[in-house]
Amino acid sequence: MSMSEPLFDPLAWLILLPLAWATLAFVLGPGRGAWPAIAGLATQCWLALDLAQKVGAGGTAAHVVGGWGAPLGIDLAVDGLSAAMLLLTQAVALPLAIYARSYFKPGDPAGTWFWPLTGFLIAGLNALFVSADLFNLYVTLELVGLAAVGLVAAGGGAQQVAAALRYLFATLVGSGAYLLGVALIYGAYGTVSIATLLPLVTDDAPRLAWIAGGLMVAGLMLKTALFPFHFWLPPAHGGAPAPVSALLSALVVKASFYLILRLWLGPLQAVLPAFAWLMALLGAAAIFWGSWQAIRAVKLKRLIAYSTVAQLGYLFLIFPLLAAPGAIHAGVMQVFAHGLAKAGMFAAAGVLIKATGQDTVAGLAGAVERLPVTMFAFGLAGMTLMGLPPSSGFLAKWQIIEAALAQGHWIIAAVVLAGGLLAAVYVLRVLRQAFLMAPASATLAPVPRTLEWSAFALAAASVLLGLRGVELMQLPGAVT
């Protein structure tokens, strides 16, 4: 079987497969569809790996939907950045799917439509990462956003529904702003194809292009939950069932970040760098504010959600550094590090909550004794978030600091180092509590081992990736 045949184009199948298993899961009915999902995701992992190898070796991949070609039709294109995001998405989703299969008991209202919604979510993400058309990107954004809101709200009580509503409004206003930006771009240039726009948007772009860039980025910032637009994230990610929180924190917020980066490096490169320091400033504020809130949080999942707010901040520190190489590498590494670690951490938190029956940090006393694997997973994920070696988080931190020093922006290096210490405080709050002697009265509910080990696999991957940075770094080297 030759991969060059259009029939087996991995690019197309990365979108078709999840759409197919999502629909199948829907037709199969409530709570059904785990196995098609796992089989599909396993195949997708293989496809993404294949694509990443091809792109990493210097190739590119494109798919001209409908055969028309831009600007009339819609093009799909994969460069190093897209390939990296695709790889991360499948690599995180597969263990989470295995996790979720054990997590949702039959009849759990939160799991009724989990599989089809997740399938559409993954399809939306994959479609987003490969799309080279600004309007098509809008549709994928909405697909991802609505699926994510549905997953947050599923089977929840008042707090969860309120969180979902807040999330829905944030995501809708975000994509609304993005859409207006697209409308202005179309008005100014007559096309929404990224490749076609690339040579057209120059330094003397009309004012409308600047407004469009500002609107699109602002909308996407809202969807990425960059400080001070983070208000919706902690209740949504903290309130959802653990597998959903993991998917959302690890992947969904990264999608809009990816899109900002894509616009920044691509069609709007003449316009957006004017906002570089604003982004970094907000990123730094996110690191401090998110960490501070995580340090104060009473609930475990709320703590992890605020940690996401903080960790997303690092991604925005790279924007003033994008003029020189190294920054994208750092960004990709951080996306991977946080994606894997946060998925692992939420998964571990899900186990802890199931076992202790409560979502508080205080309730963890004795967890190391009773659930060593899970706490080990939590610790490994925490290592990555703190940026301790040899984790991938450490490499990301190293790369950001070095890129910052190379360009004389030592302040960014200082923020990264301080952020690592703050992360240590909130991670250790949890570990410390877990290491305490168990109160004699505490009884823990039994938890399926699959849950423990899939959390462990994700967390361990986030650490071990720190030893395989060379391969991964071939991808951002191939950004076009």
Binding site: F135, L146, L165, V173, A177, L180, A183, Y186, R296, K299
Partner: protein, 100 residues
């Protein structure tokens, strides 16, 4: 000034009003309406600006059709959530932040 331009300008006004509404209005149904206003504003800008010479352009029109369906879907989901919230709490507004 062409008709297309008038549409686009009206779109800009509607969009701004919509955003202001989403930000300011606490009542959820009205907030959903504000969101729809915002979306319609963006659609008007998309179509109006593209045909500012008053020659129809089918591409943005098709995009708007797609956009409308997406907006319908989002609105339906928002309504479902609001109804659920109302059934659970009897409220038609979001509770103040429940941060610890």
């Amino acid at each position: 000034m062409s008709t297309g331009f008038v549409f686009a300008l009206a779109g800009a006004v509607l969009f701004s009003l919509g955003v202001a509404g989403v930000v300011l209005i606490g009542h959820l149904l009205r907030r959903i309406l504000a969101f729809n206003l915002m979306g319609s504003g963006a659609f008007l800008v998309l179509v109006g600006l593209a045909q500012r010479q008053d020659v129809a352009d089918p591409v943005p029109q098709a995009m708007v059709l797609t956009g409308i369906v997406v907006a319908v879907a989002a609105t339906a989901l928002a309504l479902a959530l609001v109804r659920k919230l109302h059934a659970l709490t009897g409220q038609l507004g979001l509770p103040g932040d429940v941060d610890e």
